[in-house]
Symmetry: C2
């Protein structure tokens, strides 16, 4: 009799975003008259057109595929050399980080990478994740058997949760008991906080001392504007021997529908086996890709390389500037409501306190019901997210301005009720 | 201290195709004067231009992405409804198989699917694979910890190998001791054999009796021309409760560089947990996709749907006909050399006996050295593949004709030496 992976059964409720979608669909069905007014500031999905440099490169790539002489079949499992070179040079070496072309592994996105990395990590690792946290880190580890059961009130037995709160500036303290695998996301999803050089240096030192590995998710790196903030963990001395970095083109290039991301797997990163042998993770990761993937679509790889051209760089900068301006507008509106906001600078997410006395899902329901604005309840990201909601700046300017207006109406309505 | 997945260390040598690439590169470096003559009939990678229906759909999809009103962000994790509907109708319901739209899960390829499926299957399953076998089934199970160590002479401890030989027409006998997960590939890679209705009926009965699950890889289904041969395992009564099917657009649509495939996960397929509960695999697979993937690129999904249009169907038929004609030419040439060939009908692969007295890698080296033709040594697919080589029909007609010519020269040279 065949068996299934029963660790899946530990997963609590649905994945956060499907649950939000369910509530929104239910609201729309029950309130058809305002259903068309719904504005989605929940999931972080881009809205603006693809940079023309990327689109042009894809069109040219499709011409290649229709021409026998330029036809491309199976790509190399980890990406074409010219794309890996553009990435390594553009995102790392040009910033003074030592990353080789063949340390770049292209994929169809950062979420798949965050899941696939567990295939090369062993069982029994003690997992540290922040609270609040991007749910994928937790859920993939539950599915891989690295947790105990779901706990009442959120979270899972067996994980080490690193609290991120206003008190610590959403920069978590080091764990008090040893951990093996540490997830750090900066700029952070959901809080919008960016780990500074001091914090990252502390984490790298911790990882080296405890022989832990840091999984550094820099999917929102392109939104950093403060010149003092690190874009990559490899800006920190020693990180090449203890950290893997994930990047995504979803936000910087408007690629959520195009699908491309990458992992940096440094050749200096070694693990010790149960028999005491040293083994390089780069070789394992290469083997994983050669065995389990046939690489990324030719048009998508061409589009990715084009983001690093002068035109591509100007367009991605304009695109990220646009969303950052949205974030500033939304944060200002929330502050005007008397709510405290975090993030929004160097990040496309506004993380804000709920109106007094409301829990996250209450605030979510209130904003949906009274303003038809879809947010993400902070509690969906962890216990420490309770009392917060996340507003995404990924939207059209018209929608952002409409949300700002509705928030001001809502505030006025509640003030007048209160007075 | 973090641990890696030490099951990777059990993997013997490199993955077959990288090993072939290594030998070819070495030969080319040592024989620069004939390096440009090398013709690759090894890996099954398509050569002909993308069907114009698919290319046109991709171009239109890119226009969508550059237009705010038609922009597409994150796709649904399992594919857009219109694509899933086109697939379910075009590949199944139109052939009398009951498959619902939401039982289709689009992915970026069949190799990733064959790997990902192990995420929802439990540990401790007894794995049955054919011998010879597409290496991915074995390697992914080794990496997942479902095997023992590599055995001298090929294969892994713990797997049940189902011998496929000329004696059984490359249609394996049922296992003599119980197995839980059964990989069947039809039309077969590498032997080119197609399992007939009687054989599949026997396997479905076995799986139902033993509560096993069949992983049915039909990546080459589009090459079947014999009207009596089943295209899908769901043509067999009862398969919906014991089988998962993998399909790929790599060969039918020339998509090796475009990347799209899919899994059929029937809602009738249940497993029993260790506590005796029944659990549907469809729900687990959905959860896997929602958590670990962001779905397939918008242009790629549009291209996929376009393959089911009247124009797309005519073009994919012409494309598969073209490769089948190549296969016939190659098989005839090999038969003229006095070699016995298999496959080539209803399949793009020619599986042939090596010249007398030669092992697979010897024959591979001989053909590379004397004819500069790259084949795939049968031994690379398993012990029962020893004494065979695979020739792929995925090539231009000019190359196929050149291979035919070289084989005839080679035969003449060896006959004259022998006489």
């Amino acid at each position: 009799m065949f068996r299934v992976n029963e660790h899946f059964l530990k997963l609590s409720a649905g994945y956060l975003f499907p649950e939000i979608a369910r509530r929104v669909a239910l609201f729309a069905a029950e309130n058809p008259s305002v259903a068309s007014r719904i504005i989605r500031c929940g999931i972080g999905d881009v809205t603006e057109p693809l940079p023309s440099a990327a689109a042009d490169a894809m069109r040219k790539a499709i011409d290649d595929l229709t021409t026998r002489e330029r036809f491309r079949g199976y790509p190399p499992p980890s990406g074409y050399d010219f794309v890996r070179a553009a990435v390594a040079e553009g995102d790392f070496r040009s910033r003074g980080c030592s990353v080789a072309d063949d340390e770049i592994f292209l994929s169809d996105g950062s979420k798949p990478d965050a899941s696939a990395i567990l295939e090369i990590l062993g069982s029994g690792n003690r997992i540290a994740i922040t609270d609040p946290v991007y749910p994928v880190y937790a859920d993939t580890n539950v599915m891989a058997g690295n947790s105990g059961v779901a706990l009442e009130g959120g979270g899972y037995e067996g994980f080490t949760y690193l609290a991120c709160t206003p008190a610590n500036g959403f920069s978590p303290a080091l764990p008090t008991s040893p951990v093996d695998v540490i997830y750090l996301c900066s700029p952070n999803n959901p809080t919008g906080a960016v780990l500074d050089r001091t914090a990252l240096t502390r984490w790298v030192a911790y990882a080296r001392e405890h022989k832990s590995v840091i999984l550094f998710d820099a999917a929102y790196e392109a939104f950093i504007r403060d010149p003092d903030l690190p874009h990559s963990i490899y800006e920190i001395e020693g990180a090449r021997s203890c950290a893997i970095e994930f990047r995504s083109f979803s936000k910087v290039g408007g690629f959520t529908g195009v699908r491309c991301g990458y992992t940096v797997m440094p050749k200096d990163l070694y693990a010790t086996t149960s028999t005491g042998a040293r083994i390089g993770l780069h070789a394992l990761w290469m083997r994983r890709w050669a065995t389990c993937s046939n690489g990324v679509s030719w048009p998508v790889q061409c589009a990715t390389a084009a983001l690093y051209s002068p035109a591509g760089r100007a367009q991605t900068r304009a695109l990220t500037d646009f969303y950052l301006d949205n974030a500033a507008l939304l944060a200002d509106a929330c502050e005007s409501m008397g709510l405290t906001t975090y993030g929004a600078k160097n990040s496309p997410y506004v993380w804000m306190t709920c109106p007094t006395g409301l829990g996250s899902w209450d605030a979510f329901d209130l904003l949906l019901r009274e303003a038809q604005v879809v947010t993400t309840p902070g509690a969906g990201f962890g216990r420490c997210g309770e009392g917060f909601i996340r507003i995404s700046a990924f939207n059209s300017r018209a929608n952002v301005e409409e949300v700002v207006k509705r928030l001001s109406v809502l505030t006025a309505r509640h003030s007048s009720r209160a007075s």
